[in-house]
């Protein structure tokens, strides 16, 4: 076989491209997830009694320990699969498909809030306040959904818009304080989280405000009026509601805003280099306020999801850990629209699958550990490169060119 020089050149191009891909962010995120699962596997093995017993006579019969260890991992992740994607042990198809709908239901607020945090990241702001923004938005939504009477449809829209406005305003307040006084957004958002939590509990406990009609002393609101509930998507057999649709629409809007619009362009400019933005005539302070407002608006979708997706009264822990999980979602998704979508789905699957791991005797917190390790690996790129012996980041542009061509086709449409 003879090789023409052209072919040689093409080969070099491929190898450069391969290097770029394995040194790029998406591939690293994938490896981080993989590594997170490996760490999770170690936990499962380490907490398996059979394995520990077999370990005591490891030198005599090592296969026992290995079999037990492998079994523990397989059982654990099989349970996670059954709980989050497809339950092959179920009696009927409806039950078998329920896990995937649960994953989507849990993923929806994570995606929405993740987009909010991601947007702030790209403007150079660390929005730790998703939790507070969700609570404040949920408070506003609950006020409308339980204390206002409106026709079906309109009631939902009004409640949803109220939540978005409330969350956006709560976010904008952070930007305003930063722009006006120079207060750091991390401190401000953390403090506003406490304030929102306190306000919500107060409103849910106080007789005259949003407290459950005829309820006891625990802080709890009425259930949202049926006219204001997010409609179920797949009928009464599943709990999946329209929240996921909102989240998916939000992903598209986020992508367009950040990659295609001049507003997102200016957001990113301020995030990368505020000095150059100022010199280019951009009002950096105003951009902080606007970006935090838009960030809060995305988080507001998570508030809608929590407040109007519920069928029962709300309690003060309505935000769950979404506000903080959103930070990990944004990090794992490297603040891009498709990244946040995938990261949100993954963490949604963890939430949906945890209970079925508990059923087989595994601590459901294993998923929390996996989640933590994934983000830890993401945050330490050199660690991942060392473990997998990846090359240092490539500075050539082969992939960038392809990417540009791909996105350009979309743009030409």
């Amino acid at each position: 076989m003879t090789t023409t020089p052209k072919a040689v050149k093409a080969d070099a191009r491929w190898s450069i491209a391969a290097k770029e891909i394995v040194s790029g962010g998406a591939f690293r995120a994938f490896l981080s997830v993989l590594l997170g699962f490996v760490v999770g596997a170690l936990f499962m093995v380490g907490s398996n009694e059979e394995f520990l017993k077999a370990l005591s006579y490891f030198t005599a019969r090592p296969t026992d320990a290995l079999t037990a260890g492998w079994g523990a991992i397989a059982d654990g992740y099989a349970a996670l699969f059954r709980g989050s994607i497809y339950n092959y042990n179920a009696d009927n198809l409806v039950a078998a498909l329920r896990p995937i709908t649960e994953t989507l239901r849990f993923a929806a607020p994570l995606i929405a809030a993740g987009l909010g945090v991601a947007l702030a990241f790209r403007v150079g702001l660390f929005n730790i306040g998703a939790s507070g923004q969700i609570l404040f938005g949920a408070l506003a939504a609950t006020a409308v959904s339980t204390r206002v009477e409106l026709p079906w449809g309109i009631h939902l829209v009004v409640a949803a818009v109220t939540a978005i406005i409330a969350s956006a305003a709560y976010g904008a307040l952070v930007g305003f304080l930063k722009a006006r006084t120079g207060a750091h957004e991390v401190i401000v958002t953390i403090m506003l989280n406490y304030i929102a939590a306190g306000l919500l509990t107060f409103a849910f406990r106080q007789e005259s405000l949003l407290r459950e009609t005829g309820g006891g002393g625990t802080p709890k609101s009425d259930a949202p009026a049926e006219t204001a509930q997010l409609p179920l998507l797949l009928g009464d057999s599943y709990m999946l509601h329209a929240g996921i649709v909102l989240a998916l629409v939000a992903v598209v809007i986020y992508w367009w805003l950040m990659e295609r619009s001049t507003i997102g362009y200016r957001f990113r400019m301020v995030g990368h280099n505020a000095d150059a933005a100022r010199t280019a005539g951009i009002n950096v302070e105003l951009t902080f306020v606007a970006a935090m407002a838009v960030s809060g608006a995305f988080v507001g979708l998570a508030a809608i999801n929590q407040a109007l997706g519920a069928r029962a009264g709300l309690t003060p822990d309505i935000d769950g850990s979404i506000g903080f999980d959103a930070i990990t979602v944004a990090l794992l998704g490297s603040s891009t629209a498709p990244g946040v979508l995938l990261a949100g789905l993954l963490f949604g699957a963890f939430k949906a699958g945890a209970p079925s791991m508990q059923v087989i005797g595994l601590s459901p917190e294993v998923t929390g550990v996996v989640q933590g390790f994934i983000v830890l690996f993401i945050a330490a790129p050199p660690l991942i490169r060392a473990i997998f012996r990846l090359p240092a980041p490539q500075k050539t542009t082969v992939v960038a060119d392809w990417w540009a061509r791909l996105t350009r086709k979309k743009a030409a449409k």
Binding site: W256, R260, S261, T262, I263, Y265, R266, R268, M269, H272, N273, D275, A276, A277, R278, T279, A280, G281, I282, N283, Q394, K395, T397, A400, D401, A404, R408, A411, A412
Partner: protein, 499 residues
């Protein structure tokens, strides 16, 4: 000490930064390493200093092959290095900085600075450095900080001293003083490697010159060679070092500044009652030593700083209190002095940088969406019109060389319909080829009848471009003279002597 580099080769991936480089520096010699930015000079010196491992070749000191595993080995062998960006701790004293990494301690591990102070004084006195060992480094002017770096190297008995672009941060006077120090050091037996891209300095101080282009030695030269032939060797083609300006009839008043006063970050008047006019078709250069208010003046002109008194008129338009965006919309083009900080977004692509201050309106925007088709077409046009050397418009700006980054800024500003151009240090850190091109563009703007203000601390640039020269000293304009004024007189004015 004699230094010899034999066949040094260093690759970064597919890029060959140093290609079989041979270099001999004799004891007590000032050997100039001349080359453009990105030619591979700094890489070579980092190999010498043990920061990079060479892929081939060897380093010899007094004919003994060395094997440096890191800067520690290089220092121990007698090599000292003064980096372009100083490696000093600002809040430490001179003496503390000098002993850093090699601290003398008493038996109980307590720092003993007396020895260090003595050493600093010794070296300082010997070469007339005038450095107080107990002064905080952050309180020292840049020129003195550089001397601290030199003392640091000498205190460790450096026999070979490498100076990496040492004059980039210095005023003309400080540059002259540094050259005197280099001569004294050489006389005392220290070998000096002087890395630079400035021809005038090479001619003034070097004993021998080695020219590097694209990672390879392209020739040796003598300091007596003409600047033109040195430039040709360095750039690889004929370079015209003279700026050609045609006669242009002056238009009406373009920019009128009167009584402008700006209060700076430290609540002192940094621009003090400054008045001048620039008419269409004229280049007014604002000369002066760095830090005499030029930066703040430029920032006030473009709206980045609010004047406390005075007025700025652009034609009939009062822009004294206009916002940056209003100033931009009024047609003022601005090339900031620090392109990486203020002129570009390094993590943006070339195309994205072209629309930095034009994202609000067509042709770059269509409503609130970016007009990609127009942006790409215009970007490609600008890349070719302004000769930006880049793999493509999607390349990140930070990956371009300094000269090409500056061309991106120049292209962006000049491609607008301008009513005034303000260029601050337009060719700082830019290679010779690009300097030529950028100067041509600035002159073309003037020839098109626009008023131009350039602010420069490089006297060569000022005299090459200016029709009139305003010299700033301590925030005031000390005088406005003709563009053909002698260097001597300008030098005096820059030192504050009114003429």
């Amino acid at each position: 000490m004699k230094l010899e580099l034999r066949g040094i080769t260093k690759r970064f991936g597919t890029l060959v930064a140093n290609d079989n480089i041979n270099l001999v520096v004799k004891p007590g010699e000032i050997h100039s390493l001349l080359g453009e930015n990105g030619a591979g000079k700094s890489t070579l010196m980092n190999v010498l200093y043990g920061l990079y491992a060479a892929d081939g070749g060897e380093i010899l000191l007094d004919d003994v092959v060395q094997n440096f595993k890191g800067p520690g080995d290089a220092m121990a062998a007698g090599i000292g290095m003064v980096h372009q960006h100083f490696m000093l701790i600002p809040v430490f004293t001179v003496a503390e900085n000098v002993v850093l990494g090699n601290e003398p301690t008493s038996a109980l591990g307590v720092l003993n600075l007396d020895e260090a102070r003595k050493r600093v004084r010794e070296i300082s006195d010997r070469f007339g450095f005038d450095i107080d060992p107990d002064a905080l480094v952050e309180d020292l002017p840049v020129g003195s900080q550089q001397r601290v770096e030199i003392i640091k190297a000498l205190a460790r008995n450096a026999k070979v001293l490498v100076l990496d672009e040492p004059t980039a941060v210095l005023t003309p006077q400080e540059t002259d003083e540094l050259m005197g120090i280099m001569r004294d050091l050489a006389k005392a037996g220290t070998s000096i490697v002087f890395i630079t891209h400035k021809l005038r300095e090479v001619q003034a101080v070097a004993d021998r010159i080695t020219v590097i282009r694209l990672g390879a030695v392209v020739g040796e030269a003598k300091p007596t060679d003409s600047a033109g032939s040195l430039a040709t060797l360095m750039v690889g083609r004929e370079v015209d070092l003279n700026v050609h300006k045609s006669k242009v009839s002056l238009g009406s008043s373009g920019l009128r500044v009167s009584g402008l006063t700006v209060v700076g970050d430290r609540h002192t008047k940094v621009v003090d009652d400054v008045s001048f006019d620039v008419r269409g078709g004229e280049i007014l250069a604002i000369a002066g030593v760095q830090g005499n208010g030029q930066t703040e003046l430029a920032e006030a002109l473009v709206g980045l700083r609010t004047p406390s008194a005075g007025s700025i008129h652009l034609g009939e338009l009062d822009i004294t209190h206009s916002s940056v965006r209003e100033v931009i919309d009024a047609g003022v083009g601005y090339i900031p002095e620090d392109r990486k900080k203020d002129g570009l977004v390094g993590d943006f692509t070339v195309a994205e940088n072209f629309m930095l201050n034009k994202s609000y309106a067509p042709p770059f925007a269509k409503g609130i969406s970016i007009d990609f088709a127009n942006r790409d077409r215009l970007s490609d046009e600008l890349i070719s019109d302004f000769d930006v050397r880049t793999p493509g418009r999607e390349t990140l700006a930070k990956q371009l060389s300094g000269g090409n980054q500056q061309k991106v800024v120049v292209a962006r500003e000049l491609s607008r319909d301008l009513s005034l151009l303000i260029a601050s240090q337009p060719t700082r850190g830019v290679d010779v080829g690009s300097i030529e091109f950028i100067h041509e563009q600035i002159v073309a703007t003037r020839d098109a009848g626009k008023p131009v203000v350039i602010i420069s601390t490089e006297l060569d640039e000022v005299t090459a471009l200016a029709d009139r020269i305003a010299v700033m000293y301590r925030g005031r304009i000390i005088g406005i003279v003709d563009g053909k004024e002698s260097r001597e007189k300008l030098g005096k004015m820059m030192a504050g002597v009114a003429v």
